[in-house]
């Protein structure tokens, strides 16, 4: 996952596309608000149609890459009234923008595939 660079905002978003399915699943899970790691793990495993399965170590590496890319951030324990025993993660503004861009890209790809003869 490319690190943040100072450049045109569109370029900054484009360099994160296409997102990996697991990264997309994490970002989508955070779209509704801060979540702890275990809930993100469950979301990823549930939404990845069974063909990608992550564990704590795998998830950690993914989350670290997304943090380094500026797409998500980790909150201090106990912030927003969350469970003090668990650290929560939030989507950054950049992350939200990238999520929307990836969702649009996927929607366009699906529309294109649906328009082809024999694809229904």
């Amino acid at each position: 996952m490319p690190k943040r660079t100072q450049s045109d905002p569109d370029d900054e978003v484009r360099q994160h596309l296409p997102m990996r399915p697991v990264a997309f699943a994490v970002a989508a899970a955070l779209a509704g608000g801060p979540r702890p790691g275990i809930e993100l793990l469950d979301e990823v495993n549930a939404t990845a149609a069974g063909w990608t399965i992550v564990g704590p170590g795998t998830l950690y590496r993914l989350m670290r890459e997304m943090r380094q890319a500026g797409l998500i951030a980790r909150e201090a324990r106990g912030a927003h009234g969350s469970d003090e025993r668990q650290a929560h993660h939030v989507l950054t503004p950049l992350g939200r923008t990238v999520l929307k861009a990836e969702a649009s890209r996927l929607r366009r790809t699906l529309d294109l595939a649906s328009a082809r003869p024999g694809s229904r």
Partner: protein
């Protein structure tokens, strides 16, 4: 240890900076996942930990090997290594579950496949464990790799001798290439008095360095101290664990005395059980029953030409064997010049002790190892064919999977994973079979090979069994997996039973390969059988049948005077000859089945006469008739007049076959020259080539009535046990304090063949196993082919084909690959036969009768395996068969 603590420990797989940063976050996810797994029970917990380990391993690999995480293409979503590994794990677990369920639904096939695998695992495990524990494992001494044995070499390296005391002592004191040199007296059987009772025991002398060099620790008491090794030191002894439990009845050591040759030694220590050492003949066997300090009481002779000691040494660090040999040869030359007297030590033989110990077992066990792997290969081919046949019955299922999107690699992986499941029952069963086989080998042939009792199925063997089973199962499934996945990948769903559907052309190759290997094993077994039969029938020069042997060891306390010993033997012989059923009794110092024992230099009593090594035998007049040694010239009565009888071999060596009667000879064991008055037949060991047997000189025992002799009793057939009992009673009545060992003679002679017998039995076991596997392979193939072609057979019958023709077609299908395999096997057996030559007696490795018989046996088995299917194919009801299709 809690789950949290365990997980924290496992995080050590990650690099330290990552671990420190990630620990809290990882635990946040780990804890709830663990709680869920606990609620699912033991099964869930096991799967959970497996996933955690794989996840951590993948993450650690990704952290430490970042190159693996690079994207292969910027436009394709990539899966990291860790994700691929976890997905692979899930796939494998699913396949394992499905396969386990399917195997439990087909118990017959599962049992057959597991049994096939088990036979291969057992054969290779037996061969592997024997090779490892008997030959490859180091000796159980500290720094065993540096231990060597020293011997004297003469006649340009052609003769070898046990070292003499002067040479051994000077090697110990002057050699610079060893850091320790230990000397031991060669063990001797002696009468030992314990609490007034006499027992026969082997007694050895331990030099001051011996026990320390071998790293021995007593299991009770102590070992010798330095003061006990000096000349005239206090009489103490150390006993073996078996002697302590047996003769000493595990009594407390304090105050326990053992009397040897009128000297009472206090037993101060007990050696560990299982301690082995070189015996009188240099074989590695149970150590002496009693050890005394060598230097304390030994009257060391100054002769450098007569050796009776074992010398073991440890090479200094960094000294190679060649360097040591060179140095010792220089030392030998220096000593010879210094002393200027006759010595056998023209050079010094330096041999790794490990090689000395395992020499006799190395080659036969290598052959058994190869045979074991050959059986494994036959089992692997057999299993491969069975997996293929089962896969063909699942052709429709595999086609459906392919149509639903399963890739060829996915299908192949599914079939491979499934076959590895067989490794579990195959390992268990194979392990049990191997354990039973090893137990039988050790019980049947203890002592046939050195260290045989050390062969055990330990955790390493368990791991070996599992690995062999898994690899064999995977290898067996590989080709069927590739073939079946290739055919399933084609976009067709054929109707069942169509001609030619799914029968791979490789099938006859499977059968042919099995048969070729089986021909090799059966031919080798056949050669060993013939060799053993010929060896056991060889004319040894005497007749051990219907003879009982009494080993006598007269205690010197009562029989110190030669006249007393002679009187005992005379009385003993009189009593034995009077026993019912006894047809003759005699006396000898050395039994005839050990012609190489008690040899000494013999020469004609003239100046510059050639000397040869020959046996020196103290016998009575009736000995020859009792054991069946023929006399050619004169009668045995000449012995009583002071004459000697020489054997044919010695006549050839000293007189070139001319008559020796009237000649005078000298022997190193006899202080006076002896007149030759008769000639006897030569006795031999079974594997001695013509012209290599040691000759012998026989003199009357009254010349030197020694304390240890053998009484030989010939009796009527079938009464050995009662004669042995009567003999014991008669000799006990003569003197109850004389320790005796009484047993039939023929089994002792047969002991010489025990290594041959063992090799034959194990190799034959492998041969029979391979034969059964190959026959079952033929049966499986033919049965399946006939079942698949039932429709074709029904059509042929309906069109009027004679049933006999159908039977012939099936038999041809079964016998053709078997015949081809036999041909290949015969060629390989012919070319590879020389490897067996060292183990064969009077039979050539390429003996055509044996090879052809082996091939015919296998073809016969293939024919028998094909008959049921041949009969079935000619009896099919055409209407029924066609209706079913």
């Amino acid at each position: 240890m809690s789950a949290d603590q365990l997980y924290r420990r496992l995080l050590v797989l990650l690099p330290r900076p990552v671990r420190q940063e990630a620990e809290a976050e990882l635990l946040d996810v780990f804890r709830p996942l663990h709680a869920r797994a606990v609620r699912r029970g033991a099964h869930g917990l096991v799967l959970f930990w497996i996933r955690v380990l794989v996840d951590l391993a993948a993450a650690a690999a990704a952290e430490r090997l970042p190159s693996f995480t690079r994207a292969t293409s910027p436009h394709r979503p990539r899966r990291s290594l860790s994700m691929r590994m976890t997905q692979l794990l899930e796939t494998v677990l699913t396949d394992l579950r499905v396969t386990a369920r399917r195997l439990s639904n087909t118990p017959g096939w599962t049992l057959l496949a597991s049994g096939t695998l088990a036979l291969g695992v057992a054969a290779s495990l037996v061969g592997g464990v024997l090779m490892r524990d008997v030959v490859l494992d180091p000796l159980p001494f500290p720094e065993a790799g540096r231990l060597v044995r020293l011997i004297e070499i003469s006649h340009g390296g052609r003769r070898a001798w046990w070292p003499s005391w002067p040479n051994a002592r000077e090697w110990r004191d002057e050699a610079r290439v060893f850091d320790v040199v230990a000397i031991a007296g060669t063990p001797r059987t002696s009468p030992v008095m314990v609490g007034g009772e006499g027992v026969r025991a082997s007694v050895g002398g331990a030099g001051a360095e011996l026990f320390g060099l071998l790293g021995l620790r007593p299991v009770a008491g102590r070992l010798f101290v330095a003061d006990e090794h000096r000349a005239g030191g206090p009489p103490v002894a150390v006993v073996s664990e078996a002697f302590w439990r047996g003769a000493l009845r595990s009594r407390p050591l304090s105050g326990t005395l053992v009397t040897i040759r009128d000297i009472s030694y206090e037993a101060v220590g007990v050696l560990p059980a299982g301690f082995k050492f070189l015996d009188q003949s240099g074989a590695w066997t149970d150590g002496p029953d009693v050890w005394t300090p060598l230097e304390a009481r030994t009257a060391f002779g100054g002769r450098r030409s007569h050796g009776d000691y074992h010398v073991i040494a440890r090479l200094r660090e960094g000294i190679t064997l060649d360097h040591a040999r060179g140095e010792m040869n220089l030392l030998a030359a220096t000593l010879a010049r210094r002393h200027g007297e006759a010595t056998n030590a023209e050079a010094v033989g330096v041999t790794p002790l490990h090689d000395v110990v395992v020499r006799s077992a190395r080659e036969p066990l290598q052959l058994l190892l190869y045979a074991g792997f050959a059986v494994l290969l036959v089992a692997c081919l057999n299993l491969s064919a069975a997996i293929l046949s089962q896969g063909l019955t699942r052709a429709r299922e595999l086609h459906i999977r392919g149509a639903l999107g399963a890739t060829r690699s996915r299908l192949a992986g599914h079939l491979l994973t499934g076959s590895v499941v067989l490794a579990v029952p195959g390992t268990l069963l194979g392990f049990l079979l191997a354990a039973a086989a090893l137990r039988a080998i050790k019980a049947f042939a203890a002592g046939a090979w050195p260290r045989l009792d050390e062969a055990v199925l330990d955790w390493r063997a368990t791991g070996m069994a599992l690995a062999v089973a898994a690899v064999t199962a995977a290898a067996a499934a590989l080709l069927p997996a590739l073939l079946l996945s290739a055919s399933a990948g084609r976009d067709r769903l054929r109707a069942r039973g169509q001609t030619g559907s799914g029968e791979p052309r490789m099938w006859p190759v499977f059968v042919g390969a099995q048969v070729a290997l089986t021909v090799l094993l059966v031919a080798a077994s056949g050669l060993l059988v013939v060799s053993f039969l010929r060896a056991s029938r060889v004319d040894l020069g005497y007749d051990p049948r219907h003879v009982v042997v009494v080993d006598v060891a007269l205690p010197m306390s009562d029989y110190g005077a030669p006249e007393r010993r002679q009187a005992y033997y005379r009385s003993a012989l009189e009593r034995l000859r009077a026993l019912p059923g006894v047809t003759g009794a005699g006396l000898t110092s050395t039994l005839p089945h050990e012609p190489s024992a008690a040899t000494a230099s013999t020469q004609i009593d003239i100046a510059d006469a050639k000397s040869v090594m020959s046996g020196y035998r103290l016998v009575d007049e009736d000995y020859f008739a009792t054991v069946g040694i023929p006399l050619h010239a004169a009668s045995a009565r000449v012995l009583g007049s002071g004459g000697a009888i020489v054997d044919d071999r010695l006549v050839q060596q000293l007189w070139d076959g001319a008559s020796p009667l009237g000649a005078r000879i000298r022997n190193s064991f006899d202080p006076k020259p002896i007149d030759v008055a008769g000639v006897a037949g030569t006795v031999r060991e079974w594997n001695e080539a013509e012209g290599t047997t040691t000759g012998a000189v026989y003199v009357h025992y009254s010349r030197q009535p020694i304390a240890s002799m053998h009484l030989v009793i010939r009796h009527q057939p079938g009464i050995a046990a009662s004669v042995a009992g009567s003999a014991r009673a008669a000799l006990h009545a003569l003197d109850p304090r004389v320790p005796l060992r009484i047993e039939p003679f023929a089994p002792r002679v047969a002991e010489a063949l025990r290594a041959q017998r063992l090799l034959l039995l194990v190799a034959s076991g492998f041969g029979v196993t391979a034969l059964l596997l190959a026959a079952s392979g033929v049966y499986t193939m033919i049965t399946f082919v006939v079942a698949r072609r039932m429709r074709e057979a029904a059509i042929r019958l309906a069109l009027g084909a004679p049933p006999a023709e159908l039977r012939r077609r099936v038999l041809r299908q079964g016998l053709s690959p078997a015949a081809a395999g036999s041909g290949v096997g015969l060629v390989v057996a012919y070319l590879g036969g020389p490897a067996l030559r060292a183990h064969l007696f009077q039979v050539e490795p390429a003996d055509p009768a044996v090879l052809v018989t082996a091939a015919l046996v296998i073809l016969g088995a293939a024919l028998i395996a094909s008959l049921p299917s041949a009969r079935r194919s000619s009896r099919v009801d055409p209407a029924l068969a066609l209706r079913e299709e």
